[in-house]
Subunit: 312 residues, 2 copies
Amino acid sequence: YSEPSPELASKHILTHGIPDRGPNIHVYDNHVLAYDQAKKTPIWVAERITQGHVDGPADRKNIRFKPDPEISTQFSADNLDYLRSGWSRGHMSPAGDNKHSQEAMSQSFYLSNIVPQNLENNAGFWNRLEMYCRELTQRYHAVTIFSGPLSLPSPSDNGKLVVTYPVIGKNQVAVPTHLYKVIIVEDTNSNPVAIGSFIVPNEPIGFEHALTEYQVPLDDVERKTGVTFTPKLDTSHLGNLCEIDSCKLMPKRDFDSYFIGRRLKSAQNRQSFEKAWNELEVKNIPPSQYHIDLYRHKMKEFEEKERKNPEE
Amino acid sequence: YSEPSPELASKHILTHGIPDRGPNIHVYDNHVLAYDQAKKTPIWVAERITQGHVDGPADRKNIRFKPDPEISTQFSADNLDYLRSGWSRGHMSPAGDNKHSQEAMSQSFYLSNIVPQNLENNAGFWNRLEMYCRELTQRYHAVTIFSGPLSLPSPSDNGKLVVTYPVIGKNQVAVPTHLYKVIIVEDTNSNPVAIGSFIVPNEPIGFEHALTEYQVPLDDVERKTGVTFTPKLDTSHLGNLCEIDSCKLMPKRDFDSYFIGRRLKSAQNRQSFEKAWNELEVKNIPPSQYHIDLYRHKMKEFEEKERKNPEE
Ligand SMILES: [Mg+2]
Ligand SMILES: [Mg+2]
């Protein structure tokens, strides 16, 4: 008698090869992920960011979302799946965590890093959570982040638990009911000091909700994803991120101000600049020094343009 | 600049270990499987059976379903999840494919090989499909079979595709909407000659439905599971199993007769034997030679018992 083993199995049972679900991990310049060939979304996306990663000249202006060349088309989403689906393309490793490298940022637009995400959630609560992660790099040496989609059950009419989610496009990309993030912060000796795990519904979440409402034990995320995120790290001795740090997301006023700043910065002409500037008044936000500097800078830019192309 | 690689990723990004979803495959005496730690069911279960496997003395009488000792309890189903759930414990590698070895049969009762299955489907259509696979071992040297669960979308009220499935028990075991089987038969030189792929809804399916109604291209099963089943075999040159062989499942009359035979054989006393025998008359099935032999054999057995324990 010989013990069952992969070798024996290949010889006697799997004579046509070992059934394959693709590589266990896909590695990029600034993120690593496991991909679900059935759902056409990532299972988990890992990053480890420092101040150096989240600051830099890379920008998303000329980057397009595209299928990951590492994923076989048989198992890949494409942009058409998302088009007019009602769902936005939500980064798991955010573009803004890749400011240090145009190439790394470009890789974050591979659809292997994307899930169908509610647009308001993507631009709002989830965006603020991502900003909070970047803010952590100011207070901690490094921040390890695992992000991904979940398909969770909810009680049906008869009280039984049922999982329900849409699939979109020809490739039937699975729309997650929830998204998760596991955040681990390190001290200056690269020792992990605190962990926070969060499960956030894939729907609009207003400013009245605190991040702590969505905090869960790591074990919850592990059971629901089937993933053990840190096999080499016993997380039980780590502090609670929301006690050690604040877990406070950017308040509405600052968030609005930040967004208007982005619109001012990207404005291509006086008209759209003034439209954004007007938002400051409508929302009763006093222009910050940043806004005022932008005003001077952009006005010069527009005058320059007008001198060059007086017809336009 | 160095190319992204698992080694680099482990050094710079995955400093706490590579997130783990469990072993890629689990190997047993007579089956191999990949396990879904999120759904607490197998993803695929592979067997390669011959006449020698499906015939023998092993029996399921004293075997109990149990959690697979290879699966961490954090990610395992248990029997309580199924209890009073309304769903039966459906084998993917069927007990009856392991008649040659009590140990192999026992391993087929690990919950890693089990999915929540509609009881009528399990005892009826799916059972007949399994019988058909065993029947194929009489005409072919070997039969490779991949079986597993699927969560497939269906159109919702607004016409959009939605996946809906219950989860059962404390461990939230996912109830599949469908089950699949991929069957490859080999000639006497162990060359694969034909393939048949089937997707069967996890619901009662009557005798009026032919197996061919559920036949699909292999590519369909691959896209929906995310699995490439035979990486070493180009299946495009293989024949269609349902053209080369019959794909005919056992008709109702034979199926009833077979089941009554099983009840007669397992009867522990005259009363339950006679109840089963009465079924033959009710269903207007003339007793086969097998039934008649059982009658003689069991009557002797009961008389023996009564002589030994006249009080009972
Ligand atoms: Mg986003
Ligand atoms: Mg069964």
